[in-house]
């Protein structure tokens, strides 16, 4: 039997079992579940096949009966966000899936003798052209002609080749709670409302949460949030109830293109590695996995992603670290600080009485 003394890692920093930081082979077992607990499950969200339909958002809301809100998480007010097709805005208490839409364009240097340089042409065509746009130097060095069969066929899968002077791509990605191996929200929760389930996921227990709000700033991804009128916090449960019935989470069930894949985490990781290799072999150099590495700052995510650009483009932190990694050091500082106070106060009584 372990005793609470083994929890001292948080205070001492002596953390041989990676209770605060680092890879954990069996996070479910470490959370006190018997050895025959179910395998850890997760999401692999492959954004290279996401069509931005938002079925995940709706299926999630239908199943979990979440309130509607605007792109800033405000209830009972809706309006156009102006952020491409994203009117959800962010993950929050009422949106447990959020599809990000990122519009990008790049200049292309076109060999079009019959047309002249399109940039030049367009600049001459009147006020419809933003001055200085499409500066030739943008394309120089980076892009040679892409308007030939070879270049086109090798092109990025999410790139729309427009055939003129600009290439556009429209990235879409369904974000969700990462169900981290080291979950900041769970670690800081003082009531035990946030807990790790037998499936290895991180869930809020609505009957326990007292709305202290500590988990909200503790999440390095900004996932969990408080519902103002309710007072408690809410986030993705990976459909804990559905899992108990042997079903997949609502979002993964709905996803038309299998951009959201649900399964045992180790199988998903293998699938993701293969997918990354495939894309690389097709010349998609910008593909990368996010949250898949178990040595990263959160011990690897239970929900990880294949992205086509840097994480911050999608609103994800480039190098998230669970805040409790530094907790031993903080506790030491707090203890020393407390001792310092005692010392200062006691020594202030020393010396001559006036």
């Amino acid at each position: 039997m372990t005793t609470i003394s083994s929890a001292s890692a948080a205070f001492t920093g002596n953390d041989p079992e990676n209770r605060l930081f680092g890879p954990v082979p069996d996070v479910t077992g470490q959370s006190g579940y018997e050895t025959d607990h179910p395998a850890r499950v997760g999401f692999f969200t492959d954004t290279s096949v996401c069509i931005g339909c938002k079925a995940c958002e709706v299926a999630c809301k239908e199943w979990n009966t979440l309130p509607m809100d605007d792109s800033h998480g405000v209830r009972d007010v809706i309006g156009l966000s102006g952020m491409s097709y994203d009117n959800t805005g962010q993950l929050g208490a009422n949106s447990w899936r959020h599809v990000a839409f990122i519009e990008q364009s790049r200049a292309v240097d076109l060999p079009m003798p019959t047309f002249g340089r399109p940039g030049d042409d367009r600049r001459g065509s009147g006020p419809s052209v933003a001055e200085g746009e499409n500066d030739g130097s943008l394309a120089a060095g980076q892009q040679s002609s892409v308007l030939n069969a070879e270049a086109l066929s090798e092109f990025d899968p999410q790139t729309g080749q427009s055939g003129t002077d600009k290439q556009i791509r429209w990235l879409m990605s369904s974000d969700v709670c990462k169900h981290c191996t080291h979950a900041g929200c769970l670690d800081v929760c003082p009531t035990g409302a946030l807990f790790r389930t037998e499936f290895g996921t991180v869930v809020v227990q609505g009957d326990i949460c007292n709305g202290c709000g500590y988990c909200v700033p503790a999440c390095p991804y900004g996932v969990i949030d408080q519902r103002k009128d309710d007072g408690r916090v809410f986030k993705c449960t990976m459909c804990y109830d559905r899992l108990t019935d042997g079903l997949q989470p609502a979002c993964a069930t709905a996803c038309p293109t299998q951009s959201i894949q649900f399964g045992n985490l180790d199988e998903l990781q293998a699938r993701a590695d293969a997918r990354l290799a495939t894309l690389k072999s097709q010349g998609v150099e910008t593909a990368r996995l996010y949250g898949r590495d178990e040595d990263d700052g959160v011990g690897g995510a239970g929900a990880f992603f294949l992205l086509l650009d840097e994480p911050e483009v999608y609103g994800l932190p480039p190098d998230p670290v669970v805040t409790t990694r530094d907790l031993p050091s903080m506790w030491r500082a707090a203890a020393a600080g407390a001792a310092m106070i005692a010392g200062v106060v006691i020594s202030s009584f020393l010396g001559r009485r006036p």
Partner: protein
């Protein structure tokens, strides 16, 4: 497709994962473009030029599938010497009647090998029918669809030149017709650079042939044009030349937009059709059943059995009252004699010609172009019945429509009596939907509908019951059809719900033995069989509801034939005989689908062969063979009179035997190919409530297109009322390019006003590089505005209605409106309110030299004083 059919798009995703190339041709960069290998933005309304360019590329570079084209198409047929092409007449084909704006198609015929109609049972009748076909009023009625699901009848077998060298072969005619559709012309018309065009051309042609097939997918982006039917024709020609029809992975797939819109066409609630694409009898053409059947009687192909289908339908409707003596109650059927289509009806309503209107799950004041005109129509009815789930705008027009604010309508002046009858949802009733690939799927009922909500089956059954009770004992002959009607469906439950299965069984048809027939081949023209819709015959074969079959897909092969039931005869790929060569062998191992099994003496394969099972590939019809027996063993296109795919349509398409690029009715560009600017046979509906923006007008300098978003459904009644969908696209917006935004001072996230000769609407602006100006070869820059059309004033997510901006002009073949392209002006800020709005729009009309759009009470007669003012400018 990713936008509007996301779940269907999974198969595209899967194909892509297996190496397929996805090309997206669309003026807008959509969620489909985001996934596609290549997005080709073309100027809206120029697809015929683009596809025509591909056809030219195929022909000029000898990239067509020779064996397929020679054997399975009419490429070798000779066209009459009288035919003159649009290339030679400045964009008009021979036979144009400028008075009626119609064509006489007699000069488009083949050069006959035999006397006309010699194959007919009734040569004189057929000839007369043929002649009547060209009567302007009949042509206006809707001849394209009247020909049914196969091609129209042809008078005679043509002379053929199998070498395709004769200058009057269809092949050579085609080649000449498209000769000017060069990559440079495509650049000039569509604004697609030759490099991009050639890329598409290479990918499409390299992926077609014995071993590979290319599929084309379209939706209303092709149909909702003034030359919509010809868009599809152009693609058909291309696919036929490439041998991509009737083969796995090929075809032209219409992705339809509603759960059972295919069913609503097959079992049509359309004025010009009876179930199974039988034409609605025409007063001038079909005075008797014999007249009605004359054109098809005994002709080659399955239309040769038209009489059996029609008699069985009449038996299904009028039962014992339909006898050989009374032409099987053929005269119980009312007659049409013109265009009675939806938009014509609206005009008639405004003019007070129609008293009552049923809207059954339709919201025309939002979903149809020119909402204002639609609302004026409703305001001039005596009564209106609306059946829907929610109080849609078409039910609340009398006190909430925008015209209340402008003062053009007022509850106090509107006499229309409105009945809102709550409807049952899809989960609260049973029945079949026919999805986009002709697959019928039975829905089981989950729960009872709430309160007064009832199924439409219930409503119409009981309405019919009450009407029949009222008229019982009437001796008026006009009441006979109602009183003779077979209307004895069993009912069940406390609501007295009629049995949908019983109706489906009637649709399937019943044989002389009283048992459900197994398919339309069992139907007879002697009154011994009944069948409500011949193409659906077989859906209740063996007295089993075949549409309710649900063997899980994972337990079946790729065709999954045991899930639901597809017409005809549960065949999943039409004309799949073409997947084998003329000898009945698969074209290639890779593309094996249906083939002739010599040992078994029958056609076999992974799908049900769309061919008579035991007709040998070397079967040659004997002299005097009729109907299907007149189709040869190597003629896969069994609904056509000649069994061939038509590269050239000698009949049946009212605006020309070959597709020709015309500019949209409202265009900012001059037709670069022909003197003829727009389709000469466009159907216009004129009135102060439906003015047209003049083409090339500087007052309306931008092109506008309308479309759907993934997050909403059509006119919004099923999506704007739901919180989870509303929040995803919370208000009406338009998409503009940064260039247009700069040109007009539009700001992302703020309001803009769009103006046409119909009205002005306001919308939030989404500035996006996904919208782009198209630069034509001439140097002209065409700015395009994208406008999703889901919104109106009701529901959770609201806004002005995009369709209010649009006018109504129609494709002459289909009477479908051109709402994929129109013109407008756009300016920053919100629109004027109240009566000022009318003055604002009137100002635009004046400047554009358009007649006044002022109307009188409830939109009725125009205000005389305003009429004509400024029209001389």
């Amino acid at each position: 497709m990713a936008e509007c059919h996301p779940v269907g798009f999974q198969w595209v995703s899967e194909a892509k994962a297996r190496g397929a190339k996805i090309i997206h041709v669309d003026p807008r960069f959509t969620r489909t473009s985001a996934i596609a290998d290549l997005h080709v933005p073309l100027r809206m309304g120029t697809d015929i030029a683009f596809l025509g360019g591909l056809i030219r590329y195929v022909l000029e570079n000898d990239l067509y599938f020779k064996e397929y084209v020679v054997a399975y198409t009419n490429a070798a047929a000779l066209v009459s010497e009288e035919f003159a092409d649009a290339e030679d007449l400045g964009g008009l084909f021979s036979g144009f009647d400028p008075e009626n704006n119609t064509y006489d198609e007699s000069t488009w015929q083949y050069e006959p090998e035999e006397p006309p109609h010699s194959g007919s049972d009734d040569p004189a009748g057929a000839a007369e029918q043929d002649e009547l076909e060209d009567h302007p009023e009949i042509r206006k009625t809707d001849k394209a669809q009247a020909a049914g699901s196969g091609g129209p009848p042809i008078a005679a077998k043509p002379k053929r030149d199998e070498t395709l060298q004769h200058p009057r072969t269809v092949f050579q005619v085609l080649k000449r017709h498209f000769a000017r559709y060069t990559p440079e012309m495509v650049a000039e018309v569509c604004g697609v650079e030759p490099e991009a065009f050639l890329q598409v051309a290479r990918w499409v042609t390299e992926n077609s042939g014995r071993d590979r097939t290319t599929a084309w997918v379209y939706s209303v982006g092709w149909t909702q044009h003034s030359v919509g039917a010809q868009y599809i024709r152009t693609c058909s020609i291309l696919q036929t030349l490439l041998g991509n029809i009737g083969r796995p992975g090929g075809g032209i797939l219409a992705l339809r937009g509603h759960a059972s819109i295919q069913g609503s066409t097959d079992v049509p609630t359309l004025y010009n059709l009876l179930p199974g694409y039988l034409p609605m009898p025409h007063a001038k053409q079909h005075e008797s059943l014999d007249d009605y059947c004359a054109d098809a009687a005994g002709k080659a192909g399955f239309w040769g059995n038209k009489r059996a289908y029609m008699v069985s339908l009449l038996k299904a409707w009028w039962g014992d009252a339909a006898t050989a003596e009374n032409d099987y109650a053929f005269d119980h059927m009312p007659r049409i004699d013109g265009d009675h289509s939806s938009y014509q009806q609206i005009k008639d309503m405004i003019e007070g010609k129609i008293s009552g209107y049923f809207l059954v799950g339709e919201n025309p004041t939002v979903g149809h172009p020119n909402g204002r005109m639609n609302r004026f129509g409703l305001a001039n009815l005596d009564w209106l019945v609306v059946r829907d789930l929610q109080l849609i705008e078409s039910a609340t027009f009398w006190n909430e429509s925008p015209e209340i604010e402008t003062g053009e309508l007022a509850p106090e002046t509107i006499a229309t009596e409105v009945f809102f009858m709550p409807a049952a949802s899809h989960a609260e009733k049973e029945g079949t939907f026919t999805q986009t690939q002709r697959l019928l799927q039975w829905r089981h009922k989950a729960v009872d509908p709430p309160g007064d909500a009832k199924s439409d089956l219930w409503f119409f059954f009981h309405l019919g019951r009450i009407l029949r009770e009222r008229l019982a004992g009437s001796t008026d002959p006009r009441d006979r059809p109602l009183l003779d009607l077979t209307w004895d469906y069993p009912v069940h439950g406390p609501d007295q719900e009629p049995s949908a299965e019983d109706v489906l069984r009637e649709i399937n048809g019943v044989g002389p033995d009283g048992r459900a027939v197994s398919g339309y081949l069992e139907l007879k023209d002697d009154g011994s069989t009944s069948c409500g819709c011949w193409i659906y015959s077989g859906v209740y074969a063996d007295e089993v509801n075949q549409s309710a079959r649900r063997r899980p897909g994972r337990e079946q092969g790729q065709v999954a034939s045991e899930w639901g039931w597809a017409w005809p005869y549960n065949r999943r790929v039409l004309y799949n005989r073409a997947s084998a060569d003329p000898d009945g062998k698969p074209w290639s191992e890779r593309k094996k689908y249906v083939w002739w099994d010599e040992e078994a003496g029958r056609w076999t394969g992974v799908d049900t062969p769309d061919f008579e099972a035991t007709k040998r590939p070397d079967y040659v019809p004997p002299e005097g063979a009729r109907a299907q027996d007149a189709i040869g063993g190597s003629d896969p296109f069994i609904m056509q009179g000649d069994g061939k795919a038509w590269l050239y349509a000698p009949a049946g398409v009212v605006d020309g035997p070959l597709p020709t690029h015309y500019e949209p009715a409202e265009s900012v560009v001059e037709n670069a190919l022909y003197k003829q600017q727009a389709n000469p046979t466009i159907e216009h509906i004129n009135g102060p409530w439906n003015r047209e923006n003049p083409s090339l007008s500087p007052v309306f300098p931008f092109q506008v297109t309308t479309y759907r978003l993934t997050e909403h459904h059509t006119a919004g009644g099923m999506s704007r009322t739901l919180p989870y969908l509303s929040e995803l696209q919370p208000e009406f917006f338009v998409e503009v390019s940064p260039e247009l935004a700069a040109l007009r001072g539009l700001v992302n996230g703020e309001f803009a006003t769009l103006v046409s000769t119909r009205t002005a609407i306001e919308a939030k602006v989404l500035v996006t590089e996904r919208m782009r100006p198209i630069r034509l070869r001439s140097g002209q820059v065409v700015h395009q505005i994208g406008m999703p059309y889901h919104w109106s004033y009701s529901g959770i997510s609201t806004g002005d209605s995009a369709n209010d901006l649009l006018g109504i002009v129609l494709d002459p073949n289909t009477h479908i409106q051109e709402d994929k392209v129109s013109t407008a002006d756009i300016r920053p800020g919100r629109r004027p309110r109240g009566p000022e709005l009318l003055e604002f729009v009137e100002g635009y009309r004046r400047r554009a030299g358009v007649e006044s759009g002022r109307v009188g009470v409830n939109g009725r007669e125009p205000v005389a004083a305003e009429a004509g003012e400024g029209s001389q400018q």
